[in-house]
């Protein structure tokens, strides 16, 4: 009985919790509710994954109305993986939050912050499991609106203009997506993804389909901060509260990427993306250019959160490269990197939050002597950074391996070269940080050991350990990513 409702629970649980928080409003209790939501969602997402492995795809008709007439959830290994990522990052983010939030947000507002956080999680879950293109829009807006709110909780006044800019960009993105959906609807009369997938092949030669495709892609590209639509991201990440940045870095763009992949490969006819329109070349080019260029921009940043925000744009570029390869191996690499990047980036931003608690600053200058002053915090940043470069024994290496082998599979040796070149650019900014933290000594200075609080370190190190574990034994993450790619590209395992 319960297993039938697994998919619905993923949205229902936070949806019940959010208004409850708004009624209670006391920081401590709202945090507890948020934590309970996290635990329940994690268990639930694992259960969904197991259920799918055992019985295959979950289809759940909301309200009891069958698919094209009602809205349905449709969960296979691809969204199950994304759900898992989102739920775990959310849970760790919530565990991490109290101390970090206390230092940045006034007591009165904290209850609202947790409410918005739960709502954001609701939205992201809703996007991920939905099988209806319009429903995706609605939950996209739930997550976007709550993200704007979360960002505006930042300490620095610049968070306001960042949130506003994101709001404008995000609304344009959503409207573009809506235009695309409108065109699709006008041609097919349906909004259900599976139904669309059945009806679109007959219409493949119509310009309207191509334009709808373009609008949907551009809308989602803005949401996932794909170059050159990335302008909103650096400031949004830089000025949001640290705990929020950690959460957003691991989840916000991921759901959009997932919808992107789902739509272009599954909803649009087979070979529409790579064969008919050949737009995969564009995505490929955009991805690799952004991976290299934005990493280069990151070198010149002196504010850690902003630096790693630029790096996130670069990593989205790598994901886009995998998508642009339009092969099972490529999409598997994208999914794997989604998973791995969530682990490493969240850990980095969490550690930066720890740095902030100790030093009161997140500039690179604050890192001076950090290697000795707070070895655990700094080690987390270091390992995350090594993972971004793609050093062996970290998840980043596995991602690179998959991505490079996917591009070599199609004999794109130049692409493989560029991907690896990107790692070197990454190495430059990571090393800039490492040198400041470990190798800039001032012999006259007495360094007092002063570590970030345990409640920050524990979630951070859970992710660091996961990073190393999945860097050594990638069988789980690799196989589930491959399985996800297989389902999306329509190859039954």
């Amino acid at each position: 009985m319960l297993s039938l409702h697994l998919s619905a629970l993923q949205v229902v649980i936070p949806l019940l919790a959010a208004p409850l928080c708004a009624i209670i409003r006391r920081p401590g209790i709202t945090w507890l509710i948020a934590l309970a939501v996290g635990i329940a969602s994690c268990i639930n997402s694992i259960a969904i994954l197991l259920h799918i492995n055992r019985f295959g795809e979950i289809v759940y008709s909301l309200g009891g109305w069958a698919a094209p007439f009602g809205i349905e959830y449709r969960i296979d290994s691809a969204n199950a993986l994304i759900l898992l990522i989102i739920s775990f990052i959310y849970l760790l983010g919530i565990i991490y939050a109290p101390v970090s939030i206390k230092s940045e947000v006034p007591e009165k507002s904290q209850g609202w912050l947790y409410t918005a956080w739960i709502l954001c999680f609701t939205g992201l879950s809703g996007i991920t499991i939905s099988g209806d293109v319009f429903n995706v829009f609605v939950f996209l807006e739930v997550s976007s609106l709550s993200t704007y709110i979360l960002i505006s909780f930042g300490q620095d006044k610049r968070c306001l203009s960042a949130a506003f800019r994101y709001l404008v960009m995000g609304t344009i993105a959503a409207t573009f997506y809506l235009i695309g959906v409108g065109f699709l609807y006008s041609l097919t009369g349906t909004l259900n993804m599976a139904d669309l997938a059945q009806r679109l092949p007959d219409l493949i030669s119509q310009n309207t389909v191509a334009v709808a495709f373009g609008f949907v892609i551009v809308g989602l590209a803005i949401k996932m901060a794909l170059f050159p639509f990335h302008a909103w991201l650096p400031n949004a990440y830089a000025y949001a509260p640290n705990a929020v940045t950690a959460f957003l870095a691991g989840t916000a763009t991921k759901a959009a990427v997932y919808v992107f992949i789902r739509l272009i490969f599954e909803v649009f006819p087979e070979d529409y993306f790579s064969g008919f329109t050949s737009s995969h070349h564009i995505i490929l080019a955009v991805g690799i250019i952004s991976a290299v260029i934005t990493s280069a921009v990151a070198i010149f940043q002196n504010e850690l959160k902003r630096l790693f925000a630029w790096s996130s744009i670069g990593q989205i570029g790598y994901i886009a490269v995998g998508v642009g390869l339009a092969s099972t191996a490529g999409v598997a690499a994208s999914f794997l990197h989604l998973f791995n990047h969530a682990i490493m980036k969240t850990a980095i931003f969490m550690a930066i939050g720890g740095l902030f608690i100790v030093t009161g600053s997140t500039t690179t200058a604050a890192l001076k002597n950090a290697g000795r002053r707070m070895p655990w915090t700094m080690a987390a940043i270091l390992i995350g950074g090594l993972s971004l470069i793609g050093v062996p024994f970290t998840t980043g290496f596995i991602s690179k391996w998959y991505l490079v082998s996917a591009s070599l599979e199609q004999n794109f040796w130049w692409l493989a070269g560029l991907i690896l070149l990107g790692s070197l650019v990454t190495a430059a900014y990571v090393w800039k940080i490492v040198e400041i933290a470990y190798f800039r000594k001032d012999p006259n200075e007495q360094v007092v050991r002063q570590e970030a609080p345990l409640s920050l370190l524990i979630p951070t190190w859970i992710l660091v350990v996961a990073n190393i574990y999945f860097g050594i034994d990638a069988r789980f993450s690799g196989s589930i990513a491959t399985q996800a790619a297989n389902t999306i590209l329509g190859i039954s395992p």
Binding site: H5, A8, V12, L16, P19, A22, Y60, L62, G63, G64
Partner: protein, 145 residues
């Protein structure tokens, strides 16, 4: 605007009608245009008119912000709760047919409840929006409008 007598009198006459109209829209949505959302907006507009004419302090006395926050949340809870009830009664989430022995009656009941939830949340949020904007003071502002 506290000194405008005409406004006071007319507002006092109009607001009850606005409220009644809101209720009409709320419950007549099944048969004509309208529904929870429109009713909520109109209901909220009634309070907003009150607020504009009689000032925000007076409005806050009638609808204290904490109460409005709670009703806004309760609306969402009601909606979700109806959905969950469907789950417990053996249907899917948001399946109203199982709420009653007769599916059509169940649908009726479900729609009535969720429309009420929508109306509650929307009306409350409209009041929240108005009060929040009205209550806000710029750090450098002098006027007490």
């Amino acid at each position: 605007m506290k000194q405008h007598l005409i406004l006071h009198v007319i507002a006092k006459i109009m607001i009850p009608f606005i409220m009644v109209f809101a209720l009409y829209v709320q419950f007549h949505g099944d048969y004509g245009p309208g529904g929870g959302f429109q009713a909520g907006v109109i209901f909220g507009a009634g309070f907003i008119l009150y607020g504009i004419v009689f000032g925000k302090e007076a409005t806050m006395k009638i609808v204290p912000p904490p109460l409005v926050y709670t009703t806004a949340a309760l609306g969402v809870l009601l909606y979700t709760g109806v959905g969950v009830a469907g789950m417990f009664l053996g249907g899917e989430f948001l399946n109203y047919s199982v709420l009653s022995a007769d599916p059509v009656a169940g649908q009726h009941l479900g729609i009535l409840l969720i429309e009420f939830g929508v109306g509650m949340t929307v009306a409350s949020v409209m009041v929240i929006l108005f009060l929040s904007f009205a209550d806000y003071r710029q750090p450098d502002s002098q006027d007490t409008d």
